[in-house]
Symmetry: C2
Subunit: 604 residues, 2 copies
């Protein structure tokens, strides 16, 4: 694949590239470290351009050379090596089981470039948490600090209810360090994911969103999976989870990681289960452990580990309407029950930490007992597991591992706040990462919306990252359109949360778009929105002519009925008139009684 030099979006060799409409890639430089932080600048007619957060990576940069067989450039290698606490090790050999014993044409080719993975030397912790605690501001920390400010150098309008969050006017590298040291934020950044543009997840930062991708039993090609990731980040996914099952898991993951500028998360249990032919009871700690090392060496940035689901909690799900709906949770429950033993994830959690700290794989402690229906929300099983996740958080922190906590699920609105409160209390302010929650069960086909309601609310209350839900939830595998719909829906929910928390930079985009709307600058209105293409095409359905892009009305009301047009006329009229304020005072003084018509007439 060759350099994309045209500004329009293209899709050479199946990968979508090119900037979003009206946008260009800009970079800000660090002062402490040689970091180069990408942002997106949206041109606005008659105003300064608006700089916004940009998760899309080099794919939207027309000057970048995109070749998925080469992968993205190694932008972090020196950072890590400069710390002197890692060394290349011989890579774990790839076994046939890693790819589900796929052979011949069914085998997805290995990624062409293979480098020796890095690993901590001397049992050291090479995590952002370890550095933060040691008072070190890493390049990753400076990178995310610059990134969070979105080009702001002064505080903008602040107005919100933060529920105890403390978002600074401007994020400094030292603030990032302190938040990580306190466990309130994480930068998922495996030392072997050198293509990464670091992202911070914590409630004192912008609310992030995750998109899930992954093939299922049917093989899909590496290009298709890379394109899913590129497509998701183009629309705003901050992290991507590869939830692949079936064959070729190892090789496809390599293709995704080598081409991903965003953190990649996985559920290692899925691959481990494939290695034992899908029989949960055949899982062993040894197979699981080996899978962790395999994935850590590849560069996976965070692992979902369902270590909080313990044997004694399983009976608590017996009277649930929907039992255990987490895949990882149900696998572990089956294992525990069959062997009548405590979960090997819980029992070996110390050792799991030892692996994660050697590569800086962050924990996403899985909620295997999350409710799968309104009826099961906030029940004994869910909160018992949450308290165990709090215990595990402390164990991980003692090992200098970064931790976030996964949350529900299906929760009616009045029970959402308790989820956040309980999480803050029992998990010691470790970042919360929730799936929705869905606020009703009755709208299959619309669960991106039932869940966006809950996601916006829990984001407001303090959740740091929202896992998207697509319209296909409960019904089937999301296609390209579903992925985009899910990502845009979650971007708007995350933004609504930022606004309500009083994030100092959030309202600037709303205001710029609303000014464009009021001034009938249609192109600006499209370009400042989350999905310029859809906005433009909806507008074009009724008023396709280019001339209508500057029309002072739209198809909804037509020119005579346009309130914004009338409102502009009023404003012009008001500016002409002196004494309008005085007249208004007079009417105000008249208070709550009618002004006699003749008097009002005389007052003209």
């Amino acid at each position: 694949m060759k350099n994309q030099t045209t500004p329009a979006a293209g899709k050479p060799h199946g990968i979508t590239t090119g900037p979003l409409p009206g946008s260009r890639k800009v970079h800000a430089a660090g002062t402490l470290h040689p970091v180069r932080v990408p942002m997106r600048e949206i041109a606005v007619t008659g105003e300064a351009p608006l700089t916004v957060y940009d998760s899309s990576g080099p794919y939207t940069d027309p000057t970048a050379s995109i070749d998925i067989a080469a992968g993205l450039p190694d932008s972090r290698g020196d950072w890590q090596l400069n710390r002197g606490d890692v060394a290349p090790v011989a890579a774990r050999p790839v076994h046939p089981a890693d790819n589900g014993f796929a052979t011949g044409t069914r085998l997805t080719p290995a990624f062409p470039r293979r480098v020796e993975p890095l690993r901590a030397t001397g049992g050291r912790a090479v995590t952002q948490l370890a550095y933060a605690r040691a008072g070190i501001v890493t390049p990753e920390m400076e990178f995310v600090a610059i990134r969070e400010n979105e080009g702001r150098t002064i505080a903008r309008i602040r107005d919100g209810e933060a529920f105890g969050a403390a978002i600074p006017d401007l994020v400094t590298p030292e603030f990032v360090r302190a938040e990580i040291a306190a466990g309130r934020a994480i930068i998922p950044a495996n030392i072997n994911h050198r293509e990464l543009e670091p992202v911070i997840i914590g409630r004192n930062f912008k609310v992030k969103i995750n998109a899930n991708i992954g093939n299922s039993a049917v093989t899909s090609g590496m290009e298709e999976e890379v394109e899913k990731m590129v497509w998701a980040i183009r629309w705003g996914a901050d992290t991507v989870m590869d939830l692949s099952t079936g064959r070729n898991i190892h090789n496809i993951r390599d293709w995704i990681l080598r081409n991903s500028p965003v953190p990649i998360g996985t559920v290692p249990l899925y691959q481990a289960l494939e290695k034992v032919g899908g029989i949960a009871e055949d899982l062993t700690w040894e197979i699981f452990r080996d899978t962790l090392i395999e994935q850590a060496e590849q560069g996976v940035d965070y692992f979902t580990i369902h270590a909080g689901l313990r044997l004694h909690m399983i009976p608590m799900t017996a009277r649930r309407v929907t039992g255990i709906v987490s895949r990882g949770g149900s696998i572990m429950a089956k294992w525990c029950l069959t062997h009548h033993r405590e979960s090997f994830l819980y029992e070996h959690f110390d050792e799991i930490c030892d692996i994660c700290r050697a590569y800086d794989v962050s924990f996403s402690l899985g909620d295997g007992l999350r409710p799968g229906s309104i009826a099961d929300a906030n029940d004994e099983a869910q909160f018992a597991e949450l308290r165990t996740l709090g215990e595990l958080t402390k164990i991980a922190w003692a090992k200098d591992c970064q931790v976030m906590i996964e949350g529900p699920g299906h929760v009616p609105m009045h029970k959402i706040k308790a989820n956040m409160d309980e999480q803050l209390k029992h998990c010691h302010e470790a970042p919360f990462y929730t799936l929705g929650p869905l606020t009703t069960d009755i709208a299959p086909g619309y669960d991106h919306i039932t869940s966006a309601i809950g996601a916006a609310m829990i984001g407001w209350f303090g959740t740091a990252m929202l896992c998207y839900v697509t319209p296909k939830e409960h019904l089937g595998l999301p296609d390209r359109d579903d992925v985009k719909t899910g990502v845009i829906t979650y971007k708007l929910a995350a933004h609504a949360a930022d606004l309500a928390k009083g994030h100092p930079g959030a309202q600037a985009r709303d205001d710029a778009l609303s000014r464009a709307r009021f001034d009938f600058r249609w192109q600006d209105q499209f370009n400042l929105g989350l999905d310029p293409d859809t906005a433009r095409s909806m507008h074009d359905e009724t008023l396709p002519a280019e001339a209508h892009k500057v029309a002072h009305f739209c198809s909804m009301c037509g020119p005579k009925f346009c309130s914004m047009k009338i409102s502009q006329d009023i404003r012009a009229e008001a500016e002409k008139r002196a004494g309008m304020e005085q007249m208004a005072d007079r009417f105000r003084a008249a208070g709550e009684i009618y002004i006699p018509a003749e008097e009002a007439e005389a007052a003209k």
Copy 2:
């Protein structure tokens, strides 16, 4: 158009008829009055059928004869006449201006049947409020009481935070009467809308939704407009507002009313403006007054009247980002400013009440100064108008008129609660009827979602009716798909609100659907959802075979990974095992430390 006898949905002569999948129309009889209340019964495999609220009218009843040129049957005529306080009057003649001077082929034909309108005799108030205050339980009150219970005879699960709402376990006719007498609820039911199936709007009842329809400057046919209404109520719209502008407003409204089982609302100012050629400053009280009578005689159930926007408030909008975004508000502001006079709607509000009480047209007091952007939310202009709406509420109540209050608009999440609190305080608990609110401005093309977040929240806090927003908001005229998306989105938001308020009947549907999901009863899962057609088609995209409708897995995870399947296996396993509880106790007693592996092994 002929009788629809097939159970499948059809569209004879442009009107969609036939039941929803798995559903049949049932009727419940009154005990005080000869009312016959329609409901929808959804068949469920292996369970009792679920009865749900049904706004769709006779169109989903295969035994009903549908002929839009005949209109729906007169189901209320006797109720009103029996009260002895109304009499037919000679109808106001239809003027050419009423239809925008359309002639020849551009003129939509008049509705074939014309009856003499009813009007109160002797200056009486013939409103539900007047009857309620007099201690009379009308047939309309009994109808809505039965309707609200959805076939329940006992209270179901209750669990919520109602913020001062007081929803009874079962709604009685007397409860309805008392709520209406207190002004906390309304039944918009013009005595000339005899085709109506009454609906109650108030915060101690199920949250309702409104859908807007209407042609704009371009002429559309009467059949097309009737179909828009039928389509909107098929998916759950509780009321429909006809916001037509342009030509043929009078005749199209007649076609809609004569075929509508749901309350129809209008903004009479739109038609009045058409009568003066679209020149706001040429509006007069006389033209407006005549339009009210014209529409009241036709049977419009509620009028949006922007009487709260007063001259002295206009300067308060000068520094807004988006000025005045209400169409009615901007028209009145222009009128006030041009003439430099107080609004004729405010000055003549007494007389407007006199008209409304003679037909029982309910007020929907318009928020002409609602915010059109996040920046303008909860500002001085908005709340000044709200307080005036509270004044007007008292004037209307003194005239025995039913009142609801319109609300915003664009409001970030943290400012939503204040809208409800201020409305309750200043408008004396009159029902609140809000447009969204949209929780961010940055997602044109997705404003059904930005607003569903706000709508669900404000519905929870106490808003009685939510005005839908479609994906085309701000961009163009909604088409058929947009209308459906808007209605379903708002139904799910209203239901999320009912759940969170602890409505005693709400969770039954979630539970039935979730049980179906857990049991892999795919057809039940589709049919119990708000949009069975979409759910089914999404499922079929990946697993089209009929055999998969009973498969114990879906395409998302496949059979090996299905958590629900594993969970069922676990449950079966658990039931077999004795002693599992004891084992669990042992682990629980072990507390927060690891069980040594050998001990756990020995314990097997």
